[in-house]
Symmetry: C2
Amino acid sequence: MIRVNSNFLDYIQLLEQGNHKTIIQEKEVEAGGVILSQRTKVFSVFVVKSGLAKCFLTEDTGVDFIQEFFGAGEVFGELEVLNNDFSFCTIQAVSKLSYFKIAKKDFLKLLKEDAKFNRLVLQLMATKIRYTALRHSYNQSHALEDKVKRLLKEYPKLLRTISKSDVANYLGISVRSLNRVLKAI
Amino acid sequence: MIRVNSNFLDYIQLLEQGNHKTIIQEKEVEAGGVILSQRTKVFSVFVVKSGLAKCFLTEDTGVDFIQEFFGAGEVFGELEVLNNDFSFCTIQAVSKLSYFKIAKKDFLKLLKEDAKFNRLVLQLMATKIRYTALRHSYNQSHALEDKVKRLLKEYPKLLRTISKSDVANYLGISVRSLNRVLKAI
DNA sequence: CGCGTAATTGAAAAGTATCAACACTGGTGG
DNA sequence: CCACCAGTGTTGATACTTTTCAATTACGCG
């Protein structure tokens, strides 16, 4: 649900303080601000420094599906940069967000020249795949009530941080269903 | 649905014919054979040479959810090797399968020493993430009928290759529902 | 206070699963 | 050649789950 990656954040901050000052920009955006839009070209890779962002796709049906909430250390844009694709999702700040921005060519250069960076990126991508796969599977094979219970157990203060419609979009259900289950629990 | 990666397969075969003969083993298994089991340690990375395998998770409810069907050039085991995790899914041959097997240490060595290999792995992982995310999103936000129609349009001879229960497990629905929709189309 | 956004709820409609029975196919042995 | 079996596919009836729609209510903020 809310993903973080402190290893990666640490390393980025190390690079920033070291001899890579120039290639790692620091930026900020208010809640609601969009950092990356679906179906646009991606020229940079981003790393969350602090705050919370949501990563979602808007389907042709008009429904938003939230892939993931990104907290400190989470990376986005790397997939598109690696495969030279358009962005497949929109990244929007849920709360005030500070983040690092690394230009495509610098990111690719780091990957080539910095073995530790390379390894961290491989691991972070492996984690993303595993996480997404497990979530997808769980979602498909469990009842709504189980999904909601699990989420609340893992993030007790979820509903104070994230709006109901976002939570519903994350679970792939309607707000009405979410309300019914919440009441029943 | 049925994924392939001819770039990667080509490169692996190139390595095999070059000076990496010793680290790339070729193996075979009959339909139904299990190459990797859920929740076991993973000591190698595998690449499909020919044939078809399914990658699925068994949930605590007893339901199988099929992540993906792997065709020529698809890779598995790499996530676990990178993060030193247990396998999160089972890989089972759907038809007679030939595949390459690369020991963990050799895979990691290749990643370090062969820049092209490294890049191909990064790209393949990026593709996996994108693909999984799009599928998850589509699944959550479209009606059953749309899902089935899309699948049949993309793979007209699907039902001659893959059993109904596998197709249903891939879609995360019951066989009954699949049948109903198929009849209605 | 008054406005706009978010949250809540009930009732009806639509979508899916479960279960149990039946059909079809290919293979086996008498 | 037939009877039988196991695996796979098909179907109807029914119950359950989730969405949709529309109407209210609650809440934060200028």
